[in-house]
Subunit: 351 residues, 2 copies
């Protein structure tokens, strides 16, 4: 009998945070790729371009002129998907036609005045300023809104329409799907095992090490056992933390450091500015601020689309959309590749 | 007070089939697009090219030579994500590290010997042959496998690496996520309301008409009330049907007809060969063949990525991946655009 090898034999893995499964078929990497190739990311972004609405001193769509900001800069999205004052939909006529109100705000946050930088190319102090601003917005918008979604779409491949380093913050009067799902699974885990799911998970991964990418005294980054995207990672605190705003000074500094290390490795993987969508999940806010959040553990998800090279992505299409996500290398293989990459950025190396 | 207008005021809608929500922010269509543009689909595919492994007479990766087929042609995927004989993973060491066996088969099905055709350009008899072959594979693979996923990735934008008209059929020894989800929601609906969810839904949409795209005596196509992709549609039978193989002769002919009409409209929308992923969902098979499938209703989902034009797609990224899907036009607006398009294919019209 053949003994089971995760890198040779397809299998499914359970994602306890989403209560679903992923098909792992690592032998599929051997298949030649003849499909679509992507444009590699633009590498020659000008440092400052006044026609770019995110630059200091540039005019935005609504005519406002940005200040000469020198660190982070936050403004209201000029084309928000969520506005604070939409009227309530009419009462539902039938259970198959249910609508509900959606109110909120959408903000854009520039990370740095320079357009030619990205987080891994910024200094630790500059990344720390981003983290502080995230925490500030989480408090400010979380005072009334139940969910504050901080997310970064990086790279044109991820629908990002502006190369200037920035993220978005969308706050809503409802718990979005992913929030409801993680709330339920984490609650159930705490009930069943008496320990927050992602705290238990981080401790186990710190011991097992095979999916570790980087770690420090306060944080660790793993390719989760149930990762869907080829180089997907999960950034976890080592102690129990419900929300970004609870992080101490020291934890914010060590977060800046681990982010810089992770993102440098990402860029080094294919020697390009690595595209991804990332975002923070933490305990709900607004009306939930008084509730018990013992089951929640703060974490960030990184979802990068690339699979084989700077120009060949993983397509989550047909089978994935209609049946179940499928991946072409094991999480352990992905983690090992990321782990062994240098922590010095390829653009900082002498040519 | 302002009265609620779905096309002006953002709101959320409930998807009863997936038990989740979509954010509808139709006013976002006004935002200018400065992000990534796609390559329009290749329009000059040669009728036959022996270097294309899907053509009659061509050699495939494994050295086999395709027969001179004249209708559909099915063969085993040369790089299958599922194989019939993978060994069982080791027993799970911990509830956060759960793996299970995955066994199955992956087949490729060519629709037609000509590479320069697509379903909407094929004759009704030729489309009918595709439907018959689908039903045949559903019976054959469904004899032992619990789930037989028939799906088509169309266009390079949807990860399709070969322009020859074809689909795939992946059968598995497990119920994939989407199947488990739809099984649960349809079961619950039947219990609560005494009628299969999608049968009730089709009847209501046939009356309401605002989301109808095309219909005939046996079938209807709607942009579902809870659509996520801009021009997503749902193809539904009017009577209660659990599985493809139950369709009568007449229903297969009328299915060929409604598919041709829908796909012609899709191509006419931006006057290109419209990319999408589509697939069939029906009652589980294999060990489930004896079970009651009264809650199931056969249906096909069409998930097309384009939003504004042949080259501007909807990106399901940051907020969508981390929080909740968001759409930029209402399902009613999408349905109206599709409904009013001609049913004659743009390539068949005199220039
Ligand atoms: O099998 P293909 O067409 O080579 O591959 C395509 O469809 C598969 C099933 O949806 C996906 O897993 C792949 O990412 C995609 O590129
Ligand atoms: O707001 P942006 O960056 O213009 O838009 C991008 O991110 C949004 C939030 O993830 C998505 O809804 C859009 O499809 C995407 O293009």
């Amino acid at each position: 009998v053949v003994s089971f090898q995760p890198s040779e034999h397809q299998h499914v893995r359970y994602n306890p945070l989403r209560d679903d499964w992923v098909l792992v078929s690592a032998h599929r990497m051997r298949r030649p790729w003849q499909g679509q190739v992507e444009k590699p990311p633009q590498e020659d972004v000008p440092r400052c371009d006044l026609s770019n609405p995110l630059c200091p001193g540039a005019a935005r769509a609504n005519g406002e002129v940005n200040p000469q900001y020198t660190s982070t800069f936050v403004f209201d999205n000029d084309f928000p998907a969520l506005q604070p004052d939409a009227p309530e939909p009419d009462a539902c006529s039938h259970p198959l036609f249910r609508a509900a109100s959606a109110r909120g705000v959408c903000k854009v946050m520039c990370f740095h005045p320079r357009s030619d930088l990205t987080l891994p190319l910024m200094s630790l102090a500059e990344i720390r300023a981003v983290i502080d601003k995230w925490a500030e917005l989480a408090v400010e918008l979380g005072a009334s809104y139940p969910w504050v979604q901080i997310f970064e779409n990086k790279g044109a491949m991820m629908g990002c329409s502006n190369p200037h380093p920035h993220c978005q913050v969308w706050a809503s009067n409802f718990l979005p799907n992913e929030a409801r799902l993680e709330d339920r699974t984490q609650q159930q885990h705490l009930q069943e095992r008496g320990v927050p799911m992602l705290l238990e998970y981080a401790r186990l991964e710190a011991q097992r090490k095979e999916r570790l990418v980087v770690e420090n005294a306060d944080w660790l980054v793993v390719v989760p056992y149930w990762a869907v995207w080829p180089f997907q990672t999960l950034l976890l605190p080592r102690r129990h933390v419900c929300r970004l705003q609870e992080l101490s000074d020291g934890e914010r500094d060590s977060l800046a450091s681990i982010m810089k290390r992770l993102l440098t490795k990402y860029d080094n993987l294919f020697e390009i500015s690595f595209p991804y969508s990332m975002g923070w999940h933490g305990a709900p806010t607004g009306p939930h601020l008084g509730a018990d959040c013992g089951h929640w553990q703060l974490h960030a998800h990184y979802y990068p689309p690339l699979l084989r090279s700077a120009t060949v992505r993983k397509f989550m299409v047909g089978y994935e959309m209609l049946a179940q996500a499928q991946r072409d290398l094991t999480p352990e293989q992905a983690a090992e590749r990321l782990r062994t990459l240098p922590e010095e950025h390829y653009r900082a190396r002498p040519r």
